[in-house]
Structure formats: structure tokens, C-alpha cells
């Protein structure tokens, strides 16, 4: 059938990993070369092709295959590195490749002319390697390594323009918050290792064995589950650890689209899906709650943002919240499905935004204006200049809003409907969760509508410059082609021919998870209707507000401020955690210097004083005694010496004194 048939999926996935690594190494060795973009591109093309034909097509829907090699032995346990290919990992790997490929192509145009371009490609290749390695890791420790490497690559890429103060602040923040998650992940690994003695995913979650290794209702399993979730929370930007993601938009837009929208942030969801068998109900409930909270809060924050990329970032956070809810309710197949579709449309959204920003930045540079090219308030009416971009962005937005005929419709509905089924199965206050999700969906439609209206409708503020000969044109082909490709991916046919029933998509069919709760057919009807209706209503409102300029809220509305400032979370964190720990560290250092070292110095001072005292004692008492003898002798000698002063009178005086004394003695006697 094809040339990859004789390669096993294992070898193929190793190759998939190795190509970007090879690209990275070559670029790192070569250093500053203009061809570096080509190397990275070749690497990712090879990876994508192999991933599709060597891993995904042969591996999909067949039994999971794995291969492991001994890594090292520690104590009585031996750790293995290995490759695990099953539906989940193959899908994830393919998603990464398929998203990375257009982003690479797009970047060639987008990053053209940047002075540090070779670094960009190097980092991007490193990221691809780490991300692809993450997807197929067999061992949890191996997974962790790639997990952190992904974070590292993200750190490098966020801080790509390292002379920009905000960028380096953002990348530090991103890495540190990810570190918090990593510690959770590490604790989870340690707990699993301590109780099971292995980190091998295939052994740990062996569905076939009759006695599972993990009794998930033990306290440690709860703890470990929460720890893993903490890891996922940081990576997938869940409330309250989401604060790094909006700031991470300081990186190049292409990076944002690949890393901070489509792939890396989804790694948390992927992790949860991987270790799903570990979770008991407590953990799952926590996941649902956090997911809902995240979806809601991020959607609210998105409403108040003016920066295009920040809106999209919050949108990403919100959608990740959806995925978390999907995992939490047990439908991790739905979560993975949404992850996949989200990867396409969110990447597309970012690329479109990038195209807009690119043009705006060009305009800014040419016209020598001073404005933020990402600020919504400066953009408007662009649909005339960039119709194709506009088209792509509309498709992506519809998909995000969950409009029928788009992939988003299927995947989002799958989560909301399953959540409804889950809630109605449990009853009580759990119903609040799907209700909130529906509200968030409508809010999503509204804020993405706001974005579209503000960018592409209305009047363009800098129109006058264009009349004076400045060109403002459609994105170049190198950018357009990837966008069109992703736009195609955002539509439903890629995932299944069924327009409405997400159960019929191939992803859901393959991953299908048995849920304990029954399927409610009526929910499949009214919830999509509700969502679509709500979305349309939201758009109408948005059209009224933003296009017709009937904006009802004042600038100083405290809610808008609250949303714009992201709920003052950054300020809160800054004040409590950052300032707090710096202050604590200062106090501790002062303590160290003054108390601990002070004690040492005090002790040394004391010893020195003691030595002074002892020396004094030695000098004045011990030596004093010796000297006393000497002095006494000397003094007596001196005294007697006075007698011998050579003066007659003195001699006489002494002689007479003795005589007097003698006589006195005689008299007294």
C-alpha cells in the first residue's frame, strides 16, 4: 500500500521524534545560518509524513503496541524507556505533527527578517521533538522529562525577543508556574513509584490483567491523582495557575498558535487521559470543578481584553476548561476529541490574528506610527483588505462558538451533552455544571464575535495612511496556505460525515469510553439547539454593540475593569506570592547573615574575648607571678643598689639608720 508498511509503528514513532531532534542538533551545531528554516521544515515534514503513514494509519484502531529498552537500574527496580503506540498516543502525535507543519510553513513568512531567526527554528525543532516525545512515552518519568522539555522550549520561545522586558518577565512566569505543576507531576510519579514500584504505563494501567496494580480508592491514589492534576493544571492553564498563558502571548504569534493554543497546553489534558485509570471520584470531581471554574472565569476575562492575542489566550484557557470537564466527567474521549478539533481552529485563529498583527506591524513601521498592533481599539474594517484571512477567521470562530457544520460543534457538544448526562445521573447541584458550561459556550460565541466584529467590521482607523500610498494587503501565500489548510480542518468532514452526532466521528468511535451513566437522547437535541441559538443571539447582540456602535457599557465599568485586569489575579499573585517569597527570602537572608552567621561570629567573638581574658590572666596573673618574683628581686636589688649610689651622705645616712635601728632594738629589748 505504501512504503512505510514494512516499518513497525514503534520505529516510525521513533523516527517521528528523531527528525525534529536531528534538525535541532544540526541547527545548534551550524549556528547562525540562513538555511536553518529549511532544516526545521524538512524535519517536520518528514515527521508529519511518517506520523501519518507510519504510525497513525497502521496503528489506529489496532491493539496498542509497545517496545521498551532498559534505561537504568536503581535499587531493585529497573526503569525502562519505551514507546507506546495506541489510539490515544497515535492521535496526539498526529495532531502535533499536523498542527506543527502548517505553523512551520507559516513561520517562514511570518518570522522573515528577524535577526534571531536561526534560534527560532532551533527552539521550534526542540519543541517539536519534546512534544512528539511526550506523546509516545511509555514511562511516566520519560513522559515527565519531555513534559518539562516542552516547558523549556516554551520558555525559550516566549522569551524569544529577549531584549523585550515584558517577554522575559512572561517566560520566567510561565516556567515558574509550570514548575509548580511539574512538582505536582513529580510527586504523583513518586507516589506511583513508591506504591507500585514501576512507572511503566503499560504495566500500571494494564486493562487486561485481572488484578489492577492500583487500588484507586486508597488515600494515596487520591493524593497522587490530585498531584497529577496539579501538573496538568499548570500546563493546561487551569484556574488559578492560568496566569502565565495570557502573558505568554509575548512570544511570536506563530509560537502562540502552536504551543500555547494547539499542542503544549493540551498536554495537560493528554496527561490526564493517559493516567485516567488512576483517578477516583474525588479527584474527578475536583477536575470537573476546576475545569468549570476555569472555563467560566477565562470566558469572563476574555470579554474585557483589548489585545487580540490575549482574547485568544483566554479563549484557549476556557476551552481547556471544557476539556478538563470532559476528563472529569469520565468522558476523556470527548476531551481528546475536543482537544483535536480545538487544536485546528484555535491554531487557525492565532494564525489569522498573526496575519492581522503582521500587517498592522508593517503599517506601523512604514507609517512610523506609535501604537500597539495587537490592540483591538486600533484595528477595524479589515475585511476589505484581507478577505481570505477574514474567511478563515470566521470559520475558526464559528467552530470555536460551536456552530453546526464545524468540528467545534461536534466536539463541544460532546462535552456539554455528556456533562449533562453525567449531572442528571448524579442529580442535585451537579446540574449546575452543564448549566455553567452552556453559559460559557454562549459567552464564547459572544467574545469571539466581538473579536471578529472589532477587527473586520467597522471603519479602519488608519485608512488615511493607506490612501497616501501605504499598502495594506492580504497575507502572503506562505501564510495563507497553512491557514486555508487549517480552515479545512476546522470543518466537520474531517472528523466524520455525521453532521450532528458526535458519536459517529471516527475519533469518538475509536477512543470510546464506557461511561457509567446512560445516554440521554433528548439531550442530543436540545443542548445543541440551545448552544446554537445562544450563540446566534450573542452575535446579534455583538453586532449591535460593536458594529452599530451601540455599546451600552461605559469605559469605567468595574466589571469591564475586573475582566480586563483578569480578576486582579496577577496583582494578587504578585503581591502575595512573588513579593511574599522575595520578602521571605530577604528576611531569611538577614536571618542568615545576622543570626546564623551572627551566632558564628558571636561565638568567635566570644572565643576571642575569652582568649583575651585568658591572655590577660596569663599576662597578669601567671606571668605576673613570675614577674613579681623578678620584680621583687629587681626591686630589692634596686633598693639595695640605692645604697651603693656613691654618695657619702647616703652611705652615712644608711649606716646611721642601721645604727639607730640597732639602738632602738637594744632599747626595746
Amino acid at each position: 500500500m505504501n512504503t512505510f508498511l514494512h516499518i513497525s509503528p514503534i520505529t516510525a514513532s521513533i523516527l517521528v521524534m528523531l527528525f525534529p531532534l536531528l534538525a535541532f542538533i544540526i541547527q545548534a551545531v551550524l549556528g547562525k545560518k540562513s538555511i536553518s528554516g529549511n532544516i526545521a521544515l524538512i524535519g517536520i515534514i518528514a515527521s508529519a509524513v511518517i506520523s501519518l503513514f507510519g504510525v497513525f494509519l497502521p496503528g489506529w484502531n489496532s491493539t496498542s503496541v509497545l517496545q521498551k529498552w532498559e534505561w537504568f537500574t536503581i535499587g531493585e527496580h529497573t526503569l525502562y524507556v519505551g514507546i507506546l503506540v495506541n489510539n490515544l498516543t497515535a492521535l496526539m502525535q498526529l495532531v502535533v505533527c499536523i498542527i506543527a507543519l502548517p505553523v512551520h510553513i507559516y513561520s517562514r513568512a511570518y518570522m522573515k527578517g528577524d535577526s534571531g531567526i536561526h534560534r527560532y527554528w532551533m527552539y521550534l525543532s526542540l519543541f517539536c521533538f519534546a512534544m512528539l516525545g511526550l506523546t509516545v512515552s511509555l514511562n511516566l518519568l520519560q513522559l515527565y522529562i519531555f513534559w518539562e522539555l516542552v516547558g523549556f522550549a516554551s520558555y525559550l520561545l516566549i522569551g524569544f525577543w529577549f531584549t523585550k522586558e515584558t517577554a522575559v518577565q512572561a517566560n520566567k512566569k510561565a516556567f515558574l508556574i509550570n514548575r509548580i505543576g511539574d512538582i505536582g507531576f513529580l510527586i504523583g510519579i513518586a507516589l506511583v513509584y513508591a506504591h507500585c514500584g514501576t512507572l511503566d504505563l503499560s504495566t500500571l494501567f494494564d486493562q487486561t490483567s485481572s488484578t489492577p496494580l492500583i487500588d484507586k480508592n486508597t488515600p494515596w491514589a487520591t493524593f497522587a491523582g490530585l498531584a497529577f492534576f496539579l501538573g496538568a493544571m499548570a500546563k493546561s492553564a487551569q484556574f488559578p495557575l492560568h496566569v502565565w498563558l495570557p502573558d505568554a502571548m509575548e512570544g511570536p504569534t506563530s509560537v502562540s498558535s502552536l504551543i500555547h493554543a494547539a499542542t503544549m497546553v493540551a498536554a495537560g489534558v493528554f496527561l490526564l487521559c493517559t493516567v485516567f485509570p488512576l483517578f477516583n471520584e474525588t479527584v474527578l470531581l475536583v477536575i470537573v470543578l476546576i475545569g468549570t471554574l476555569t472555563a467560566l472565569s477565562a470566558a469572563l476575562f476574555a470579554l474585557g481584553q483589548y489585545d487580540i492575542k490575549k482574547i485568544l489566550a483566554f479563549s484557549t484557557i476556557s476551552q481547556l476548561g471544557f476539556m478538563m470537564v470532559g476528563v472529569g466527567i469520565g468522558a476523556w474521549d470527548a476531551a481528546m476529541f475536543h482537544l483535536t478539533t480545538h487544536a485546528f481552529f484555535k491554531c487557525l485563529l492565532f494564525l489569522c490574528a498573526g496575519a492581522v498583527i503582521h500587517e498592522m506591524a508593517h503599517l506601523k513601521a512604514k507609517a512610523q506610527l506609535e501604537f500597539d498592533p495587537q490592540d483591538l481599539r486600533h484595528i477595524g474594517g479589515l475585511r476589505r483588505f484581507m478577505p481570505k484571512t477574514f474567511g478563515c477567521m470566521v470559520i475558526a470562530s464559528l467552530s470555536l462558538a460551536g456552530f453546526p457544520f464545524t468540528s467545534g460543534y461536534l466536539s463541544k457538544d460532546s462535552i456539554v451533552i455528556t456533562a449533562y448526562e453525567w449531572a442528571s445521573h448524579l442529580g442535585g447541584v451537579y446540574v449546575l455544571i452543564p448549566v455553567l458550561l452552556i453559559i460559557v459556550s454562549i459567552l464564547t460565541a459572544f467574545y469571539i464575535g466581538r473579536l471578529i466584529f472589532k477587527v473586520f467590521f467597522g471603519s479602519f482607523k488608519y485608512r488615511s495612511y493607506i490612501k497616501t500610498g501605504m499598502t495594506f494587503h492580504e497575507a502572503p501565500n506562505a501564510m495563507l496556505i497553512p491557514m486555508l489548510f487549517l480552515a479545512a480542518g476546522s470543518l466537520f468532514p474531517l472528523f466524520g460525515l455525521s453532521l450532528t452526532n458526535y458519536h459517529h466521528t471516527w475519533i469518538m468511535q475509536a477512543l470510546d469510553v464506557d461511561t457509567v451513566y446512560p445516554t440521554l437522547t433528548q439531550a442530543h437535541l436540545f443542548i445543541p439547539a440551545l448552544l446554537t441559538g445562544g450563540a446566534i443571539l450573542g452575535w446579534l447582540l455583538g453586532w449591535n454593540w460593536y458594529v452599530k456602535n451601540k455599546y451600552p457599557l461605559s469605559e469605567n465599568n468595574s466589571f469591564v475593569h475586573f475582566a480586563n485586569k483578569q480578576g486582579y489575579l496577577n496583582e494578587f499573585n504578585d503581591r502575595i506570592f512573588v513579593k511574599g517569597s522575595i520578602k521571605l527570602s530577604r528576611i531569611l537572608y538577614a536571618f542568615d547573615r545576622h543570626v546564623v552567621d551572627g551566632l558564628t561570629n558571636l561565638f568567635s567573638w566570644f572565643v576571642r574575648q575569652l582568649s583575651v581574658v585568658v591572655y590577660w590572666f596569663d599576662k597578669h596573673v601567671i606571668d605576673g607571678l613570675v614577674n613579681l618574683f623578678a620584680h621583687a628581686t629587681y626591686y630589692i636589688g634596686h633598693l639595695v643598689r640605692h645604697v651603693q649610689n656613691g654618695q657619702l651622705q647616703a652611705y652615712l645616712g644608711f649606716a646611721l639608720t642601721i645604727v639607730v635601728l640597732g639602738i632602738l632594738y637594744l632599747i626595746i629589748k
Binding site: R641, Q644, N645, G646, Q647, L648, Q649, Y651, L652, G653, L656
Partner: protein, 101 residues
């Protein structure tokens, strides 16, 4: 009635004064004078006691001897003083301490 004790007391006074002069004076001539005083005190004692020795006249005889010796001593002493003065350009005994070890 003038008793022996009267003489003795007077001689003791003169002797002490002479002693003081010998010990305290910064002037060699005055030391000689002091010596003379002491000798005189001694002579006074001689004669006072000599009153009770009619047989031998020891007191008066030795008083005469003492006077003679004193005269000789002064002569020699003055000669020495002059020599010392020539030698040391001072007659302050404090400054003459060649005897010092």
C-alpha cells in the same frame, strides 16, 4: 644647779644638728662644719663627764686630743675638698658619685 644631764642634752642637740648637717647639706664645706659640730658635741660630753674623773683627767685630756684631731681633720678635709673641686668642678656631694659601683 647644772647637772650632767644638762650638758648631755645640749650636746645631744648639737650632735643631732651636726648630724643633720652632715647628712643633708649639699655643700662639702658645710659637711665639714657639721662634723665639727658633732666633734664639739663629743668634746662637750668629754668635759662634762671629765668632771667626775679627777684622778686621771681623762675627759679633759681626750677633749684636747679631740680638738687637735679635729683640727687635723679639717685641714686634711679642706685640702681634699679643694682637690675634689678641682677635679669635679663642684663640691656638691650628690654630683660626686665616683664611688658608685
Amino acid at each position: 644647779m647644772i647637772t650632767l644631764t644638762h650638758f648631755l642634752v645640749v650636746s645631744a642637740c648639737i650632735f643631732s644638728i651636726g648630724l643633720y648637717a652632715v647628712l643633708a647639706k649639699r655643700n662639702t664645706i658645710m659637711i665639714l662644719v657639721g662634723i665639727e659640730l658633732m666633734i664639739n658635741a663629743a668634746i662637750l660630753n668629754f668635759v662634762a663627764f671629765g668632771k667626775y674623773d679627777k684622778i686621771n683627767y681623762g675627759g679633759q685630756v681626750f677633749a684636747l686630743f679631740a680638738i687637735v684631731l679635729a683640727a687635723a681633720a679639717v685641714a686634711v678635709g679642706l685640702a681634699i675638698i679643694l682637690n675634689v673641686y678641682r677635679h669635679f668642678k663642684t663640691i656638691n656631694p650628690e654630683n660626686i658619685h665616683e664611688l658608685k659601683d
